[in-house]
Symmetry: C2
Subunit: 382 residues, 2 copies
Amino acid sequence: MFAPVYLDHNATTPLDARVLEAMLPFLKERYGNASSRHEYGRAARAAIDTARQQVAAAVGAHPTEVIFTSGGSEANNLFIKGAAACLKPGTVGVSAIEHPCVREPARELTRQGWQLHEIAVDKEGRLDAIDYAAALAAPLRLVSVMLANNETGVLQDIPALAEKARGAKAWFHTDAVQALGKVKVDFRGLGVNALTVSAHKICGPKGAAALVLNKRIELKPLISGGGQERNLRSGTENVAAIVGFGAACELAVARLDEDAARLERLRDELEAGLARLGATVFSRNAARLPNTVFFAMPDIDGETLVAQLDRAGFAVASGSACSSASPEPSHTLLAMGVEAETARSAVRVSLGRGNTDEDVLRFLQTLGEMIGKLKKMAALAV
Amino acid sequence: MFAPVYLDHNATTPLDARVLEAMLPFLKERYGNASSRHEYGRAARAAIDTARQQVAAAVGAHPTEVIFTSGGSEANNLFIKGAAACLKPGTVGVSAIEHPCVREPARELTRQGWQLHEIAVDKEGRLDAIDYAAALAAPLRLVSVMLANNETGVLQDIPALAEKARGAKAWFHTDAVQALGKVKVDFRGLGVNALTVSAHKICGPKGAAALVLNKRIELKPLISGGGQERNLRSGTENVAAIVGFGAACELAVARLDEDAARLERLRDELEAGLARLGATVFSRNAARLPNTVFFAMPDIDGETLVAQLDRAGFAVASGSACSSASPEPSHTLLAMGVEAETARSAVRVSLGRGNTDEDVLRFLQTLGEMIGKLKKMAALAV
């Protein structure tokens, strides 16, 4: 039976049954290419239009500001590379804790005459105000700071950061992939020029995401061709995934208050239990997502713990999912000044809609037993 | 009842029920992120590995040569832009009848110091040997010629073209999106460095395609980040779509001989009927795909005919689906030297697995009646 307890919702989420229901007609009889000028094509186009409205409504944007892409990594690359291609080389600033799909494109710009400023964070993982001011004075042309970190769940004060960027005439982007569905995401309220959201982090399908972009910003496309998405993202639209994204957005917004309150309660239970087991919870003093707990058990290797929890029927992460093929400790923790040894102990639990009180209780119980055994083994090995 | 006769398979195809069956577990309980190091992640990774083998087998490549992307447009852009970024600027050659997702990236290179040579075709739509030789002498660094044209279905002699490119040390890519599932596609036999194939043209899902790439070629990614797909295409893999792509490849290969023979028979019936109605069939003297008929009824506007056929319950295309939002006549026909007026009459019928003899008979009957009425109206209007 394939059903370990899933506690890795920041990596990806199960598709909500209602979202799959909304997608199925587009995987069956409504299979048209949205560019086709016949009944099948029009049905596909209408469905994309509806999804665009749903996504726009979820983030308080206008539907014409929504550019569908195949995923969050594509949307983040599109902003960084696409905006840079329209600007004279200058300084690009990204926080030191960005996802690799923001940091890597920013680093690549340095081969085209750009300067990169990786903006420091404090020990809780919040952007360092002094280093941000230094970056702004560079002068900064492009800046990307994530709304919520995928590992610690730490929320940045985007409205304040974006306002400063406006003063410096820099284009400000925020990766809101981890925030949507967990906290309110409001495009106008944030005051950003662009933000990224993704379907598969909010119980929608893999294969659809959006760059939400205001009209002040000019971009060159990564993928050119047929001219879809206002010429900013060519290619036959993944209709079913886009429809699923729209449905998932509608659900996420409708359930936000309820989900967030419930997840926060489970999270607090989990953290209380972890404290009893002697764990360190990272960024505990910062404003954070309600579902994310990034912790370390002293002297226990995170990878080992993740592997043992997997065998015991609990799916959790050590680093961020995308980089967990590499053995290096979390760059987020290192940027926060956490010692490499402690960072190597890090384990991430990210809760989701399907998790229950019992999941948390069983997880804590299993973890407690596991730690007892690991410590005994370590003692024997000495 | 939503069921016009679908005769637009070069735009997109219905998802085969067996392909959807293969995908569903990954839209339900097997929802893991393939980068996650737990049971859910391993199940996703194993499914992608299997699909990679299926896609590789379908085109006679090694699984490590398969780079999954979100679609054919992305794969074509990845080759053109990604290869150019690793080369000194020189000449890029693409046929004058390429899909916009090849022509546009090639045109964009001219802003980075590249010369573009659009290689001419003859009146049947076959590459012009003399102009190709001129391009090779440029000297050419990069060349992309499609295996089968999306509008006329014309097949190019890729093995011969690729051999000449090898002699000139140019990197040769072919867009085989329209060829797969309709004619044999053999990566080694074609002798190309890279080829593009896409799932949704072979009764697979939208959202998955591949750039098949030999190890001689170096590429820079369009989408950088987590390092997926050998660092050539970062981003959480669309597991369900990739699984569907693999299943669709396996089916397409298994059914190739049977499908091709049946489609060719239907196509010949259709063309015989069109000839009786006075139609001109483009590229009739060239080697073509077995499913594609691109024709014009003299003095009848193609857009009008497509719209009337749509109302009568037949889904066909006027230009290629991706560019059918623009009113310009087909660039493929113009490149073949067809007069703009005749090109404006063009209608494309592209048959698929689900079409029957009855579909063709009913289509011809409806078209005949329609033409009679349109001619009567035209006579009254004079």
